[in-house]
Amino acid sequence: MDPIEREIRYESDRDPTFADEIRAMPGCELMDRCIQCATCSGICPMSDAMELTPRRIIELTRNGFKNDVLRANTIWLCTSCYQCQVECPKKIGITDIMYALKSKAIESGAYGKKFTIPILAREFYAMVKANGRVSESRLVQRLFMKTQPTRFLGMGRLGMKLMKTGRFSNKVERMRNPEGLRRALEALPTDGRKRS
């Protein structure tokens, strides 16, 4: 049997400002109307693989249990298909909340070293910052190098086919002058949030 860990939560486990931070993000303001009806979990295509169902994520978020929320794989399995947000009877922006939680997780680095999804997000972010556009093939290469080198070799056959049909080019997609875009993206105050 695994060693016993305490399951009870004391009030000190709660992060008092966490809920407000999420609530301040556009689309996330109606969190408190949730009646825990579980429609979101019912409709979410990925919920069968999620450690915490979306319903539980909303409950834990609005009560400030930051660690539980950011440690679960739920926010990463969310493919932002918006079915939960559309079906929610209380019109709560659940997908927007998931995005808010992802940016919180990336900001606080609460995920495993080799965990692919946040790495993809940060690689994507860096590439847009540099070139203003994303070169798919290079992005995939960098991702697999960083997280699952073995799998990348397995993709060889598919890689060949894509190259043959002209759908895999090593050309770096770049804007003519990304200067304007770069200035635009630096204009907003980062209020101290890590943008790595």
Partner: protein, 309 residues
């Protein structure tokens, strides 16, 4: 009819066939498509997770470009369409987004007042074309071809200005008007797994498997999509999926604009049919749509302008 055209990163690489077929169809229908000058990546689903405020600035810059040329912007890729449409709606709905976008764009020398509309090919082909424009251009109706129209998520959610959110019909309508037969595809609005097929395949691939299996169950010949990511997931991972599900037979996955192009008798080369991993041409030839006598390459039509980057 003239629009600004936002290709998005995918249409320049894995989704090149979508761009080629879309531009070919537009040329045939005399719809003007001016690619936005120096457009930037829309941020897709990833950028938003890192920096939510700037994701709106990033997306709205493209709308500012469209406003500068005074045209509505057409966004073929469903992913980009969803991101731009949502940014536009949140720009109008939330003052925090509006302030962030206005200050951000101003620093970059741009301005956006919300005039440029975000449109999708399904929308303009269904609603902006004069009634019989498409039907009159059909040379080779797709008789006998059973198509499962797959819309995916971002075309109809969270915003769905041109189609029914629960039972979309625009793609079905268009392909029906060029002679194809539709199957009642219940999973037309379900998620294809998005980027998970690459990052966490054991979670993403089952989604594709469900979609493919259902298409086979309904005896569809081909799945039509309007999104390069969905097309890639459904088509390119069929081998991986078949490893776990040997019963899965190959299912061609094409862009709806390719089928429309074929029905209009356009050159298969211009429609990027040769870019399929799971070939489609044998099926079309078998159905008599890609006719036997002109199977030989016809005299080249004047080089198709644009599109081929």
């Amino acid at each position: 009819m003239r629009y600004a055209y936002f290709p998005g990163c995918s249409l320049k690489s894995s989704g090149r066939a979508y761009e080629e077929s879309f531009l070919a169809v537009c040329r045939a229908l005399e719809i003007g498509m001016d690619e936005l000058d120096d457009w930037n990546c829309c941020g897709a689903t990833a950028y938003m997770s890192v920096d939510e405020a700037n994701s709106h600035v990033l997306a709205t810059r493209n709308l500012a470009l469209a406003e500068r040329v005074g045209l509505d912007v057409v966004v073929p890729c469903a992913g980009c369409y969803g991101v731009l449409a949502k940014s536009k709606e949140y720009f109008e709905k939330y003052s925090s987004v509006r302030n962030a976008v206005t200050t951000g764009l101003a620093a970059g020398g741009f301005a956006y007042e919300g005039r440029a509309q975000v449109r999708h090919p399904l929308d303009i082909l269904s609603n902006d074309l004069p009634p019989r424009a498409l039907r009159s251009k059909v040379k080779k109706p797709l008789k006998g071809l059973k198509v499962a129209c797959y819309y995916g998520c971002r075309l109809i959610r969270p915003v769905s200005p041109f189609d029914d959110m629960h039972d979309p019909q625009t793609m079905d309508g268009l392909l029906k008007s060029v002679g194809a037969r539709m199957v009642e595809y219940g999973l037309k609005g379900k998620c294809c797994g998005g980027s998970l097929t690459g990052t966490v395949p054991e979670a993403g691939l089952p989604m594709c498997y469900d979609l493919l299996k259902e298409a086979h169950r309904l005896e569809a010949d081909v799945i039509a999509t309007a999104c390069p990511l969905c097309q890639f997931n459904l088509e390119c991972y069929q081998d991986d999926i078949a490893k776990k599900h040997p019963d899965l037979k190959p299912m061609p996955v094409v862009y709806f604009t390719q089928l429309i192009g074929v029905a209009m008798g356009l050159d298969p080369k211009d429609l990027g049919l040769h870019r399929q991993i799971v070939p489609i041409e044998p099926l079309l030839r078998e159905k008599g749509i890609l006719g036997g006598e002109d199977a030989k390459p016809k005299a080249k039509e004047p080089a198709a302008a644009g599109g081929r980057s």
